[in-house]
Symmetry: C2
Subunit: 254 residues, 2 copies
């Protein structure tokens, strides 16, 4: 039996032209492809490739399945939206390896990076991440809300651009409202804010607003929320929506 | 005269298999390719494509040049290492458009995202960015050091994983030492730290250490420094360097 392997493959935000050649090569070569069903549906797999679709909430079970298949000699592509390293499957795979069979930790495992949602959103918006920023997942499924709130508070105190992943779901629709209430108590109302939904997909939508006027109800699981620093500003264009810019210099416009 | 355009093209960390098909298409189509000389040297350009190599410190001049060429009808690829949106050329281009000729703000301009250095480093390390993180440029060329220090302090206070871009250069070799001194006063000495140098290139090098033992002198302009949160840990493997993991859950190991 040949030694198996696992590649944790970043699919990027959706379109094939945002996926790296490295990721495509790993997908083409894999004997087994595991992932959230809708992600697998977007790929062109050969009939000979085994397809294992799972629910999005079963990350550890999927990771364990990937490792077990590789231990039997399979060439496994474990797919992940965006970049597997950013709030995605890489951590789940390593947690599963850490807590699983000893042989799993001796497998040939690599993480293949991809374009993450914040980068797709930033590209459409102009240059909101042109200076220091942070990324926070608003999900409190796996961490207490007070940790999330402390991080939001420190991010505002440090005047970082703030990108929010997983802002809301059906099970927790209110946390994004709590987050905006906290940020409104610490940051200027005129701070630029953008809701970037499903960037790169057919139903892509951008909403440009500011911290005072923003409707947190616009955010769902397919939305990345971007909140400026004190330096972030809109730059007007002719015949197009303005750019969101966080300049490279700090305090120059004061 | 046809209307020109500018594409700000993310080359990723170096290797072609980490560059998106969208970026490759923009490079293949461009009449004019502008960028830092060593980046242009890595590309396979046709003899008919005009090549404009500049020094890495002349970002605004290069951006103005790109806009002026496009205003004359050129199809311009303005190349950037990593992701142009993250501490790179997108902000410079928009700043140049904002402060330049009115016609520049009416041009067809798009930013094409790429894999950034922190993602390449994270992929090699395992999953250090599996949970909330921030990215800070240590360059104080364009911002006062007290802003950098405040952000480092807030990032430590918020227990973010901290990624440091531009940790040191010949002109400012000491700031990374100042940063480590500050972080050592606020975070546990056992906090995992990695220096990721030139990831994806022939001279790629990873150094795994911890906050107490780390030698800040290892960092140069080609290095990305990654400093864990209180949750980040090493996961042992057989026959390979350990993984750096920031788990998806918070406080589970306590």
């Amino acid at each position: 039996m040949s030694a198996g392997r696992v590649r944790v493959v970043g699919l990027g935000p959706g379109p094939a032209d945002w996926r790296t050649p490295e990721a495509d090569a790993a997908l083409a070569r894999a004997s087994d492809v595991l992932g959230y069903g809708p992600y697998l549906d977007r790929l062109s797999l050969a009939a000979s490739q085994r397809r294992h679709a799972t629910d999005n909430r079963e990350e550890i079970a999927r990771a364990r399945h990937a490792l077990a298949l590789a231990a039997e000699g399979a060439d496994v592509a474990l797919v992940s939206g965006g970049d597997p390293g950013i709030f995605a499957m890489a951590a789940a795979l390593i947690e599963a390896a850490e807590g699983g069979e000893p042989v799993w930790r001796a497998l040939d495992i690599e993480v293949l990076p991809g374009v993450s949602a914040m980068q797709a959103a930033a590209a459409r918006l102009g240059a909101p991440l042109g200076h220091d920023f942070c990324a926070i997942s608003l999900s409190d499924n796996l961490k207490p809300w007070d940790v999330v709130a402390r991080r939001l508070s420190c991010a505002a105190e440090g005047d970082f651009v703030i990108t929010i992943y997983n802002p809301a779901s059906r099970a927790r629709p209110r946390r994004i409202h709590d987050a905006f209430a906290l940020l409104r108590s610490m940051k200027a109302g005129a701070t630029p804010v953008a809701f970037a939904r499903a960037i790169g997909r057919a139903d892509e939508k951008l909403t440009l607003t500011n911290l005072s006027d923003a409707d947190p109800g616009l955010a769902d699981m397919a939305t990345l929320v971007m909140i400026g620093s004190s330096e972030t500003r809109w730059v007007a264009r002719d015949g197009a929506r303005p750019w969101m810019l966080t300049p490279r210099s700090y305090g120059a416009g004061r």
